[in-house]
């Protein structure tokens, strides 16, 4: 039984704009997920040297001038590209949209590391004399930068801000969009997440020091959640922004509707800086299900968060078994196995990659699962090949992050 909400509290997704390491539109991305195309490549970064990463190849000059690129940030560019594409995809009469009624809510895992590292690298040339430190540093590194660049580029005068939510940020952006629409703070929400993290050497070095950075001779096989031979995270860049609006508005303008956000939850482990806590993750999933008025068996696809770390994947499986039991109808997949961990964008991208399943009724797999870790043996795990489903009505998207931040979004076919 779906929880009944007032008409203006029903929030639907009507547009998707994204860039992923294996696709710059939802259709390209979906095709990659169905044909097993990875986006992970060899990558070299300052100081750290050779590593692997998910790198995006979207056309930065489609919606920005070269001057804008020089002044702004990679996260800003990713956000601008995704926002434009989402608006176009939503079929909005953008020229006549009241820009003061649009809210921008963008999840980020971190922001400012890239720009700060660049400045320090550059003033090294000048003996660390701070008079050579750029006046662009502050506007590039303020935490609202990625959302603010979208506002500047599109002339949106409604609220804009980012949500710092570690790797739960993509879901957090979406949840904020839903909440602000329900509160009447905006009439359209551009929300999701972005990541420029591959441009900071620090994230690679830190994961490496933690023993959590993946390596494989074949880059496309490096991101392997649930596999016994997994050895860590592949860092990726990317972005995904949704257009959310009230169901009543979407229906009135005859919009294409990807799905309705029927449930969400966020909670905290209050446990450890980096280690996840399966009980809190399970509680987060259960809270989202309760708010949606759904039972676990109503969920057709769970888009797992698993990143390919030894501990994290097992912990999420414990949470999933606790909620979904063994042998239910729910299927589980993982998008990071294709693109790596897109950090602030991960939750939004992974949700987007599953939305076409409402139409094609196919669950994309988790790839690189050559030798299943017995502790990750979820009965409904879709391994290596896509699986046709009798129906796909409900997708549940997990996204968890450091410091014990958990998020779940549930989308239902309309």
């Amino acid at each position: 039984m779906i929880a009944v909400r007032p008409e203006d509290h029903r929030i639907v997704i009507t547009g998707v704009g994204l860039t992923a390491p294996n696709g710059n539109t939802l259709s390209e991305f979906r095709e990659s997920l169905l044909c097993g195309r990875s986006g992970v490549t060899r990558y070299e970064t300052r100081y750290f040297g050779q590593t692997l990463a998910g790198v995006c190849g979207f056309d930065q000059l489609r919606h920005q001038r070269r001057k804008d690129l020089r002044r702004g940030t990679r996260a800003g560019s990713i956000g601008i590209y995704c926002a434009h594409e989402a608006i176009r995809d939503a079929g909005l009469d953008w020229e006549n949209v009241d820009r003061s009624t649009v809210g921008i809510y963008i999840g980020v895992t971190e922001h400012g590391n890239v720009e700060t590292e660049n400045e320090i690298y550059q003033i090294k040339e000048y003996g660390y004399d701070t008079q050579f430190w750029s006046h662009h540093h502050n506007p590039r590194t303020v935490a609202n930068n990625p959302a603010g660049e979208i506002s500047l580029n599109l002339g949106i005068t409604g609220p804009h801000y980012t949500l710092g939510a570690a790797c739960a940020a993509g879901n957090a952006g979406v949840i904020q969009g839903v909440q602000m629409l329900r509160l009447g703070e905006c009439d359209l929400a551009l929300c999701g997440g972005v990541s420029e993290s591959i441009h900071t050497f620090g994230i690679f070095a830190s994961f490496h020091s933690q023993g959590a950075l993946a390596w494989h001779e074949d880059p496309t096989k490096a991101s392997r959640p649930f596999d016994a031979d997994r050895n860590g995270i592949v860092v990726a860049e990317g972005g995904c922004i949704f257009v959310l609006e009230r169901f009543s508005d979407a229906r009135a303008r005859g919009a294409k509707i990807y799905g309705e956000i029927v449930g969400y939850a966020m909670n905290s482990d209050a446990y450890d800086f980096v280690l996840p806590h399966p009980d809190r993750q399970a509680e987060c999933i259960e809270l989202a299900l309760r708010r949606a008025g759904l039972n676990p068996d109503d969920v057709d696809i769970v888009s797992t968060h698993a990143t390919g770390t030894t501990t994290g994947d097992v912990q999420e499986c414990l949470a999933l078994r606790r909620v979904f039991g063994d042998g239910g109808p729910t299927r589980f997949n993982n998008t990071k196995s294709f693109i790596g961990h897109a950090m602030g964008a991960a939750g939004a991208l992974e949700l987007a990659g599953n939305l076409p399943a409402f139409q094609d009724r196919v669950c994309h797999p988790t790839i690189n699962l050559d030798r299943l870790d017995p502790e990750c043996d979820l009965p409904g795990l879709v391994a290596n090949q896509p699986r046709e489903m009798p129906k796909v009505d409900v997708v549940l998207n997990n996204s968890f992050g450091m410091l014990g931040i958990n998020s779940v979004v549930i989308v239902r076919r309309v």
Partner: protein, 86 residues
């Protein structure tokens, strides 16, 4: 550096700061701001680039001298005459 070389240097900096602009028709006597899409942050880039490339220090109260190409070259000529062009 001669005044012509200084002019070339400033044009080179402008081409970095305003990469989308056509600088070939720049009127040396009209303010940059009237001809190019430039704001105060862009002007600070001129100051920063002169500092980075040639170690020329321009006090804030003298920034108005950088309004046009002619005034910029006039201002910089005595300050850069002993600096070789890169």
């Amino acid at each position: 550096m001669t005044p012509d070389e200084i002019r070339e240097t400033v044009l080179d900096i402008l081409s970095d700061i305003a990469p989308d602009e056509d600088l070939s028709g720049l009127d040396p006597d009209r303010p940059f701001r009237d001809q190019l899409d430039m704001d105060s942050m862009d002007f600070l880039d001129i100051v920063m680039e002169l500092r980075k490339r040639y170690r020329v220090q321009i006090p804030e109260e003298e920034y108005p001298a950088l309004a046009s190409m002619t005034s910029t070259v006039e201002y910089l000529t005595p300050r850069m005459k002993d600096i070789p062009k890169k």
